[in-house]
């Protein structure tokens, strides 16, 4: 049954991709902008009328320690999948650390309700299969906004069925408990983002673009942390077209090639 679901999801992802092949936009990283914007609007509407109000109530009504417990519980389930991906990426040390987190929090942390591993000095990480593919050298492909799930890329969309099958909670029985848990998980996640979405509203002229441009950089940096890969983007424009120091006060500041910021940009 799991196989069928996976197949269905893969087929869906493929279908979406093919469907998108028609549209084209000006931004090379976002050729499906027309579709993406429509989906962004759709998600935004769902959020405004359903998810955000529910999350606001949840945040205002539920005691803080319950919210922390809920976050920790689902976060702990995620740690197991993160550990596997760490190992797939060849990060032995981080993988073992995440496995220990999962073991520690699942037992002494009472099925993950308490995140004692963080206090014990094992920091939380988050790795998914899209990142693993990225580490293996698969490029992200165009930006893609998924229904209800939000920002993604073509690569990460193909990785999604694998991530879904790696999610422990989806094997929870009985079904009604699983569904209620999933709803709770979604609401809890959204509640954690309430402040941020207000700020996004403030910071962005165009929320769609702002989110897209930030998201793509973020994913890149997760795959190549510490600027050791193509993600370390110096200001490409410094090399010629931009950034002429204009005012008298900012005297020419050349890039030293030894600077961390001075690596070639890939985007």
């Amino acid at each position: 049954m799991m196989g069928t679901t996976k197949f269905r999801q893969a087929a869906l992802a493929l279908g979406v991709t093919v469907m998108l092949a028609g549209c084209a936009g000006p931004n090379p990283r976002d050729p499906y902008e027309g579709y993406n914007r429509a989906m962004f609007e759709f998600n935004d509407t769902v959020d405004t009328y359903a998810l955000k109000p529910a999350a606001t109530v949840y945040k205002n009504v539920t005691p803080g320690f319950v919210q922390t417990g809920v976050s920790n519980f689902f976060g702990n389930l995620g740690d197991a999948w993160t550990a596997i991906n760490q190992l797939l990426q060849g990060n032995g040390q981080a993988g073992m650390s995440d496995l220990s987190r999962f073991a520690l929090n699942s037992t002494l942390g009472i099925v993950g309700l308490f995140d004692i591993a963080s206090e014990a000095g094992l920091p939380k990480h988050k790795e998914d299969f899209g990142q693993t593919l990225g580490v293996w050298g698969v490029s992200s492909g165009p930006y893609l906004v998924l229904p209800l799930l939000g920002p993604s890329t073509v690569r990460d969309t193909f990785a999604l069925p694998v991530d879904i099958s790696g999610d422990i909670w989806r094997y929870k029985d009985p079904t009604n408990v699983r569904n209620m848990g999933t709803a709770l998980r979604v609401i809890d996640t959204r509640a954690g983002l309430l402040d941020a979405s207000t700020l996004l509203e403030d910071a962005a002229l165009d929320r769609y673009e702002f989110l897209r441009d930030g998201y793509l950089q973020r994913r890149e940096s997760l795959i190549h942390p510490d600027g050791d890969g193509p993600s370390s983007k110096p200001k490409k424009d410094d090399s010629g077209e931009t950034s002429a120091p204009v005012s008298s006060e900012s005297a020419p500041k050349e890039l030293n090639s030894g600077t961390p910021a001075a690596k070639p940009d890939s985007q």
């Binding site: 309430l194 002229l205 930030g214 931009t242 950034s243 500041k253």
Partner: protein, 215 residues
Amino acid sequence: MNFIKQFIALATVALAFNAHATAAPANEAPDALVKRISQDVIDTAKNDKAIQAGDTKKVMDLVETKILPYVDFQRMTSLAAGRFWREATPEQQKALTEQFRSLLVFTYSGALSQVKDQTIEFKPLRADPTDTEVEVRSQVNQARGEPIPLNYRVAKGPQGWKIYDINVLGAWLVETYKGTFASEISKGGMDGLIKALTEKNKKLASKPLKTNAPK
């Protein structure tokens, strides 16, 4: 999606980097500078009841006095505008810088009022003493969730080190605004972009800083 929350909440702290406008030692190392400012701003934000309550004026004051002196807005703006910067008239450049600066101040002020129990940890600086551009790396540790990476690009000018770009959660501020700038310019030219920013700022100025439910 978690990314957005943290991106912005951290932009706060990011700006929090710059605390002490007064008395900067002349030869302070860039990472020491960022560290000093961060600590100062965070401590102030955490301990000031008015700021925690979302007092707009107090937050803006904090940003103006402790952070702004260490930020090179001109450079930040020119980088975000990309090639369009050089095509712009000096007046347009000035107006654009001013509006972009206001937008960032509003945003950071909003984020600053959300600083609660975070602590900042700095990573060793990887640079030569002769470098005039360095990247200062840090991370923000929170009570729950993963640590959030927070990096700064700092350049040495006649007035000492100044920050000209901030990276929150892997996304550089300048790079993130670059797309927005380019598309506004393609719609209405440089003046269109300035106008859009001005209107945005007017809206932000007329609304209360803190619109979230109190925690």
